[in-house]
């Protein structure tokens, strides 16, 4: 859930932490309304993506990428880490370019959430999800490679 929020917050850890906490506060407050129609994972992911979507501050947000999410052990010069840092920055930039729903899909997919759960969380058919994910992955890789 944290990584999902982090992706939504363009890598800003403070916002991601606030959303993470807000998600679990809602889960706790409304635990009695969980009727078991979906799995508990799906229910929590739904709340998380809706919390991220519904935050009013987002509309004027422009948060620079936090250094803390970049790969660890980068104090000494390391060519490989440098490339990785750069790619992570590019990846967040590219994820930011996606529309809201596609962003949710890819963030859940990157966290290895089962596709059935993703489809249920977002509210689209499984077949549609597979096609969309392929397209999003292709466009993300292209964006990371070309920088736009």
């Amino acid at each position: 859930v944290y990584k999902l929020c982090l992706g939504y917050a363009s890598g800003d850890q403070n916002t991601a932490n606030e959303w993470l906490q807000e998600t679990f506060i809602k889960v706790w407050k409304h635990r009695n309304s969980f009727k078991g129609k979906s799995t508990i994972d799906t229910w929590i992911y739904r709340i998380a993506v809706n919390v991220c979507l519904g935050d009013l501050r987002k509309s004027k947000r422009h948060i620079p990428l936090s250094e803390n999410i970049l790969p660890e052990n980068t104090t000494e010069y390391d060519g490989e880490n440098d490339i990785s840092e750069n790619n992570i920055k590019k990846m967040y930039h590219c994820i930011d370019q996606l529309n809201e729903q596609n962003r949710t899909l890819i963030l859940l997919e990157l966290e290895n959430i089962p596709q059935v759960t993703i489809a249920d969380t977002v509210g689209i058919a499984h077949g549609t999800l597979r096609t969309r994910l392929n397209r999003i992955r292709r466009s993300l890789l292209k964006c990371i490679k070309n920088g736009k």
């Binding site: 993470l20 679990f24 809706n50 809201e100 969380t121 509210g123 992955r137 890789l141």
Partner: protein
């Protein structure tokens, strides 16, 4: 193969999470809930007092002061009840809807809120000002000149502050609605 690269890249990120224990979350949630209960209790008590006052005293001795008091209190109460009701509805939908449906709902929700902000809120403000104006002659009659001037000045300043807060929140919601329509 290239898809694997994307997953690898995602996993190379640092994992520096601020740690919240479940107990922290539960404590905060309980505090929020208690705050809500307290607000609801205060609001219900206010409404009950207004109703009792209106039916027991004001209706028997109807004058401008009573009318002013009832107008001020009821316009504020109506606006606050509307605010809480819309927040409650939004939260019910947030926890029960999938992402796609919630996105559609949010757009509708903020469109309705804009209508409330443009129609109901100005009506409430006008009623509040009318009520306040009706109270002034009584204040002038029974209070000292200094205290009356203080009440007058304080009333005007607080009204400006309320209007500024409302304008700020309307512009924030409008910006968010535009953002929702774009994504």
């Amino acid at each position: 193969m290239e898809n694997d690269n994307l997953n690898k890249l995602w996993k190379t990120q640092g994992n520096d999470i601020l740690k919240y224990s479940p107990q922290d979350v539960i404590t905060k949630a309980k505090k929020q809930r208690n705050g809500q209960y307290l607000t609801i209790t205060i609001l219900s008590t206010t409404v009950i007092i207004i109703v009792i006052y209106a039916f027991s005293f004001a209706l028997n001795r109807w004058n401008a002061f009573n009318l002013g008091l009832i107008l001020m209190a009821s316009s504020l109460t109506l606006r606050i009840i509307l605010e809480f009701y819309s927040m409650y509805r939004n939260e019910r939908h947030l926890i029960s809807m999938d992402h796609k449906s919630y996105h559609i709902y949010l757009k509708k929700y903020y469109r309705i809120r804009l209508m409330v902000n443009y129609i109901v809120t100005p009506v409430c403000i006008v009623l509040y000002i009318v009520g306040y104006t009706l109270l002034l002659p009584t204040f002038e009659k029974y209070f000292s000149k200094v205290f009356y001037s203080y009440i007058l000045l304080f009333g005007i300043i607080s009204l400006f502050i309320i209007v500024a807060i409302i304008i700020y929140s309307i512009s924030k919601e409008q910006r968010f609605l535009r953002h929702l329509n774009k994504i």
